[in-house]
Structures are given as C-alpha cells and as structure tokens.
Symmetry: C2
DNA sequence: ATCTTGGTTTCATTTAGTGGAACCAGTTTC
DNA sequence: GAAACTGGTTCCACTAAATGAAACCAAGAT
C-alpha cells in the first residue's frame, strides 16, 4: 500500500479533529463505511463514532441509509459557494481569463496556494465546456506544476520553507524535479526568470508556462498558467505567451487590489 | 427509546458552534471584521475569538491580514469538490441534463434538499456559459421554487413536517404561497399531479415546471426543473415538457441506483 | 445455536471550552 | 498631551463537553 503521510495539520481541539475526519472521508473519493474510517483513524471506536455522528447531523457528512456509507455532505457545497465567491481570485479574474483564453486559444488555469498544495479555482478551455466543481476545487502538487512553482518561488522566506517541506517529491514523470535541492534551484531560476515552466513534470506530454499573481506589497495571491501539450506546442512556443501572460497576471493583481464585493 | 429530541437548534457540541460561525461568515457574503461577527453572535468575545482562531488556522476561514477581515476559507472549496462529486446528483445526472437541455432549449436546474432549503447542484443554460461555483452551491427557498415544492411534496411524513417548519414563508411576489396552509394544499396537489409548478412565486415573470427525482424505494433524492419566463413561455407551454421532464427525472433516478464511483 | 463482525450506548474520568475581566495597542476627543 | 474610546487579544478559575474501555445489540456467517 502507499502509506504516504500528509503534512500534519496541528489538530487543535475538537473542531480540528472533526475536520480531520472530514478530510479523511473526502480523501477516500468514494462513500465509506464506518469501519473503513475506523481502520484509517487514530481514534477509538466510540470517539470516532460520535464525531462522525456530529458531522452527519450537521450536514457536513451525508449518510446513505441504504448503503450505510458516509460521504462529504452538501452543506459543504453551500459553504464553498461562499468561499469561492469571497476568498478566491476567480470572480475578480474571470474577465481577464476570458480575454486571455480567447487570445491564446489554449487551456488556462487559475490557482491558489493552500498549505503547499495547488488549488485550482478556475479553468478555461477553448474547446470543451466548463465542468463546474469537477474542475474548480481540484488540487494538485506544488512542486511539479507550473502554477505551484510560480507561487512557491515568490513566497516570503518563511512561508516558502514551510511550503517546500510540505512537498511529497514523488516522480510522476522522468522530468519531475523530485529532490528538494533540484526544486530549490528551480525556484531561484523562476524568481529571476519571472515565469515558471512545467516541462512535462507532472504529466507526460503536458507543458505549461505560468506566472504568479502578486499584490502590490509583493504577497503571492495566486498564479495563472497557459497549458498545452507537446503535440500542439513546444516550450519555445509557450515562451511567446510570456508577455501576455505576465500582463494578464498583472491586470488581475490590480483588479484584486480594489475589489469590492457586491452588496 | 423515543425519537423525540425537540430542543435541537443546531447546537450539538463545540463542533456545532464552530460550524455555526462558519455559516454566519458565509451569510455575510463579503469579508467581515471580527467586531461585526461579534455583534451578530450570541457568544461572548473571548469564546467567539477562540472559535474563529481555530477555524482560521484550520483553513476553514481565511483571514485577510491587510484588511483585518475573515471570509470562508479555501479548504472549503477543496472539500466541496469531493462533496459535489460524491454526494451530489450532478455527476450522475450530467449526461441526462445535457440531453434535456438541448432538447428543450430552456434553462435546466438540478437541485437537492438541504435542511428544507433548495441547494442547486447543477445548471444548464442554452445560451449563457456555465458559471462554476457561482451557480452550483447556490441556495434558494423551499416553499416558493418548483424544485423545492417538488421535493418537499414527496418526502415522508416526518421529514416533510420538518421541512415545512423550516420555511420562512416570505411573500417574494404577489403569487407566493406565503402561508403554511396554502403551502400544504399545494403539496397535496403536487403529489397527485406528479410535477410542481412555480407560477411566478419566487421572482416576477419567472415560471418553471419541476419533477422530483425519486429512488426505487421512493426516497426523494433531488429534483429537476425547466425554467422559463412569461415573455417566452406560458404555463401551458411548460406543460408540454411534462413528459420529457418526468422521463429524464426517471432516467437519472435509475442511473443513480447503480452508480459506482470511479476508483 | 453459537460465533463473528460492524455498529451503538453507557458512564466514570479527563480534557477542553467558556467567558468575565483585565489588558493592549491604536485612534479620537478634550 | 493626557484621557477616554474602540477593536482585538490574553488570563484563569469554573464548567460543560469530549473521551474511551467496556458492555451491548443485531445480523450474518459458521
């Protein structure tokens, strides 16, 4: 089995534990029996049971009476709606992404950093229609995606170290930078370069160019990327997008500064 | 053992309280100051403070250091992704909705019931492109929407009573059924009718026809609706969709029965 | 009919949550 | 320039809530 330990979240209090359970259920990716959960959990039966009970009648977990399984609850969808509108860059960035999308005709990703991991908050694909939550909310590794590297490279020293230590450094492809040292070197490169490239590091044949979105004070607030495949493009081809990508990232940053939420 | 637990008011344990806070923040619809939250809360300063702290470093709330405001956190988006894929009807229903959408050329909604409220989990609009989370995750009232009425009408007695008591019965329009009695009568009607109509009860000029999605055992698992406006359609016009709507609802129910999650 | 397996409940013990009050900046007011 | 606010953070005795070992229950399996 693949016993890969995730970076631990300082489980403060009961609330922390409850949320940890929630994460576990979510990670299964399918409805789970109580027993399975118990096996994967530190907690004794009774404790886990009560925790799950609480989450369930709070609507954070949904319980399928017929199949006796638990899954992340719909209340989350409701809350995420609010989160997405308020905390994510997506609403602000939308017009710019639309423009960029039609200008370059390639897939666009908008992502933010969540504890060292890449969280995609929006996506535009020239050809296919958008796929709702199946795209937004998706997560990916920080160390081998263009957006991930672009963001981590521009973090402050402290935050960057933290992010680096959260990486799993699994070699998805022969091109993956799978060691901390190689990764650090790449980050330096990216900082001087201004943009990050994904040279088939995550998926074979998939390449991208990515730029960070930085606030006026230099804080990393997200990243933007143009993705393509080796069939359609070369790395040099992507370089041609450098200018428009940086411009768009800048536009989004500006727009984010004086973003007022609709009453 | 009597199943009588009247005093519930979303108050089980610390976890319940924390989630309540989360809801409150989400309800603001914009970043909030600690003070504002305090004013809207029952809890004393210190308690609220700690709760908010916990939620924040759990990633359930995000804190804008510059503006000193809280908003629902990105961790929710990640969790919701899982919830949407697993607990919602959307992934199963997608192909059917697509088909229905292109067949009727009107707006389609897919919704589920969450504590008496309507939670939209997917939407198809013939003309406009999809709008990610800005649509999925949206909530609406149960008593004055087609999907809401269709679902509540087909609940079991106990659950239906519960749902009815959760309704606010605010008269959004002159046509809103704003009393419990009128609502009950309408529900009876809907049960014999098989479909529910929204006759400008929520928004002026907006009408819809809706069918519940029922499991083989008769449990309500969601609802489907075709929405239009008085400009484009009449109620009679919508009636023409009755058959295809019921058919689609049925297809979705069938598909949901033997839905296996992708490993 | 008895043994497992998987889920639920009890209850004395322990731990974590609570909240009144004090404390600290920064701002405003006098 | 001191004094009174305002908004946020920390203390700590008190209390309510979480804990978990063990008992219990309901099916299926043997």
């Amino acid at each position: 089995m693949t016993a890969q330990k995730m970076p631990q979240r300082s489980a403060d209090g009961t609330v922390g534990k409850a949320l940890e359970i929630l994460d576990q259920v979510a990670e299964f990716g399918r409805p789970v029996r109580f027993g399975e959960l118990l096996a994967a959990s530190e907690h004794p039966k009774a404790t886990l049971y009560r925790l799950v009970q609480t989450l369930t009648n709070q609507g954070m977990l949904s319980f399928d009476v017929e199949k006796q399984t638990y899954a992340p609850g719909l209340r989350l969808v409701r809350l995420a709606h609010a989160a997405w509108r308020q905390s994510s860059l997506a609403p602000v960035a939308r017009p710019f992404i639309d423009k960029l999308s039609s200008a370059v005709g390639e897939t666009i990703h908008l992502a933010q950093l969540d504890r060292g991991q890449v969280l995609y908050v929006d996506k535009r694909n020239a050809t296919q229609p958008i796929e709702m939550f199946s795209q937004a909310g998706k997560i990916g590794p920080g160390y081998c995606t263009g957006v991930g590297k672009a963001m981590i490279a521009h973090l402050g020293d402290e935050a960057r170290e933290d992010a680096i230590h959260r990486q799993a450094f699994f070699a998805h492809t022969p091109h993956t930078l799978a060691t901390e040292d190689a990764f650090r070197a790449e980050l330096d490169e990216i900082r001087t370069e201004g943009v990050a490239y994904d040279r088939e590091e995550h998926e074979p044949g998939i390449i991208c160019i990515s730029a960070p979105i930085l606030s006026e004070t230099g804080r990393v607030i997200g990243a933007l990327s143009i993705t393509s495949s080796m069939q359609r493009q070369s790395l040099e081809g992507l370089t041609a997008f450098r200018s428009i990508l940086l411009q768009t990232a800048n536009d989004i940053a500006k727009a984010a500064e004086n973003w007022q939420f609709p009453s």
